[in-house]
Symmetry: C2
Subunit: 297 residues, 2 copies
């Protein structure tokens, strides 16, 4: 099956899993659960949980056994989108083709829903550790990996430096890479490692998956920035052209579209190389990398 078709099929399957693993509709307090479900469901490429499940398969594991952890990573991603969109941060009005959570529910509920999603993710990872029979050190390592990816050395740090440098005229290339490796890369790395970690993958396998995902995450972000500069709002489902307008520092605004395309291709190649010598079960991961460089939405 063509990878774009396959990703679309898996996206639909993941969407239904994401629904099933959330608190149900109508649960008290209703409005906060509505906001949680609004923020997590109904859109997105769902690339992170698809990578999680493909990574579990690539190390010889059963993808179905790590579904909660795969969903957890996507919930964390959704949490970060809600926070990034807030008026005090990127002040975005549209996300995934609908009003951002704070526009639909108000700022306070958006912040609370985001944190509830984050907490739900940790609960699922802990539970998943038990269902796969992981020992204490492994469960602790999984929790630490997720917490570190989100915290001040991860996504929070990246978002902070991103906001801080928006007001500056220029940015050092290493600061830009810091932002992108934390804001996007860190969670890609967790996507690829968390399930295999719980399922008992070797240190060597985990290192290769981390290297794969680190490069993939940077490539993905660069393509995102190219799409922001060149895409249409209809195709992407969120505000576009915002990076230049808000003086945001991206690979594209710093190095230009041409150089950005070249860098994305190189990073995708590096992601694929990290899996050199891996069996056929890693093919989906390889194809995802190639797809990420060529996507148009």
């Amino acid at each position: 099956m063509d990878i774009a078709c396959r990703l679309d099929t898996e996206r639909a399957a993941v969407e239904s899993l994401l629904d099933r693993w959330l608190p149900p509709e109508g649960e008290f307090p209703e409005r906060i659960h509505e906001a949680i479900r609004y923020s997590a469901l109904g859109g997105g490429k769902r690339l992170r949980p698809i990578i999680s499940m493909a990574a579990a398969r690539a190390v010889g594991g059963d993808p179905d056994s790590i579904v909660p952890a795969a969903c957890a990573v996507e919930y964390v991603h959704c949490c970060s989108l809600v926070l990034d969109d807030l008026p005090s941060m990127d002040d975005a009005s549209m996300r995934r083709g609908k009003p951002t959570t704070h526009r639909a529910f108000g700022v306070a509920t958006a912040i609370l829903a985001a944190d509830a999603l984050l907490m739900h993710a940790f609960k699922l990872v802990a539970e998943n550790g038990v269902t796969v029979g992981a020992d204490g050190e492994t469960i602790a390592a999984a929790i630490k990996e997720l917490a570190t990816a989100v915290g001040s050395y991860g996504m929070v740090g990246g978002q902070h430096v991103d906001l801080e440098t928006a007001a500056q005229v220029s940015i050092a290339p290493e600061t830009l890479e810091y932002i992108q490796s934390r804001k996007t890369g860190a969670l890609f790395v967790v996507s690829a490692r968390l399930g295999p970690l719980l399922a008992g993958a070797s240190t060597r396998q985990l290192a290769a998956l981390g290297e794969y995902a680190r490069n993939l995450g940077l490539a993905y972000q660069i393509v995102d920035d190219i799409l922001d500069a060149e895409g249409t709002e209809e195709a992407i489902g969120k505000d576009i052209g915002r990076d230049a307008a808000s003086h945001k520092k991206t690979f594209v605004t710093v190095h230009g579209v041409e150089k950005a395309r070249g860098a994305a291709l190189e990073l995708v190649q590096a992601a694929r190389s990290a899996l050199d010598g891996w069996p056929d079960e890693a093919d989906v991961l390889r194809k995802i990398a190639t797809y990420c460089a060529s996507r148009t939405a």
Copy 2:
């Protein structure tokens, strides 16, 4: 030693532990770490970690072995204060005698610092689970307990209903209890249970500690509301009289100060009763309960 003196001595000791277990000053990104430290250090009664360590002692454990988990609970508390104080929530200007985090660092940095503190707490609990040699199920239970206390069925849910009902003319007593047991009670319960859970306390011990802390948390909150109505800003270190002004529903605004005093005393008695038959090692927990009813700041 008189319990007020003892709490003061322990508070100073906890303050230095809280400092030690945070990311150090000057760590990149500096400003976010500054905001984290500003939000977590330099004030507060530190009752939650003191309860954690007293609870560890009460079940025959070594309080020093669960210091990271005890600090984690306080970091979560500080995270919740930063979020509660935001302009979109309680819009508070002072906390612990100094400007609230968003007034000192801006709203975006406050939100990010709060989430970073939360993530740091999860990392510490996971690490602490390993250092005390807890098995997978125990570490997972500790993480789930903390995540549930914070998430949509815990503090987030309580804060949401609190904000939602602020605009209403009246509130049902059970809704008020829902808010207070989630906003304050949930984390008190975690304070008393998390360390003992990691250190291998029995289900029965954990249930009694939960009952103790649930009642203590409600009593503590009621006394807080009495102090808001009657205290002075200098003594308490935060804005006072805000509950009535903002039409906030508290035990005091709903039932009056007299009834509130009676309810607090009853709850403190229930907290103490939960430890009936416990050895002398539980004395500090009992004294903390009594102290909470009589505190004036």
